[in-house]
Symmetry: C2
Subunit: 112 residues, 2 copies
């Protein structure tokens, strides 16, 4: 059992090549839950996640802010309250194109 | 690929015994994603989910509102921005105890 304000969970920089001004809180970790993990990403103005591909899906909910998803070279805008599904093996990137911080949940399977 | 405002996804009453004034949007369904499903619950003032038990876990993020989680007879308060993990086989219920609507995401495994 866990019941915690997300802001009390540690915020760590995403230090991977191609990421800019992105931090992450691991809300529910693979050690805490058997099947999937819940992460909260915080992207500063003009920041972005890496443009990358992997063999697992993303289930995303936009908590706050405005952004665009680059997926397989296409470009789609989103804002607070959007749901986003990125299937496995699609090249993708989340970019903050709003005036404020962008925050989104991203759930991934534990085994990949 | 999916990128959609959650409010455009159909809102359906949760018509199960013990639920009161709860509706759900199936944001990402088992037909759309291989491992887990994302649902958005909307609970009116004084509403609640059923007090029940099942053999799968919940990963929850409180989008908006104030509530309490009844879990195994204990009682814990939460509000906007909380993360909640309910393991499998724990008797639980989400109750809206705030003045406004309560909205929370709840992610569950597809196979159960």
């Amino acid at each position: 059992m866990k019941i915690t304000p997300a802001k009390d969970i540690s915020l760590n920089p995403v230090d991977v090549s191609g990421a800019r001004d992105v931090k992450m809180r691991l809300l529910i970790s693979p050690e805490e839950a058997p099947h999937f993990s819940m992460r909260l990403f915080e992207v500063e103005k003009d920041g972005h996640t890496p443009l990358h591909t992997h063999n697992f899906e993303h289930e995303v909910f936009i908590v706050d802010g405005q952004g665009e998803l680059i997926v397989e070279g296409d470009n789609k805008k989103f804002s607070t309250g959007y749901v986003v599904y990125v299937p496995a093996d699609k090249k993708h990137q989340f970019r903050n194109i709003g005036p404020n911080q962008l925050r989104f949940l991203c759930v991934v399977p534990n085994q990949y």
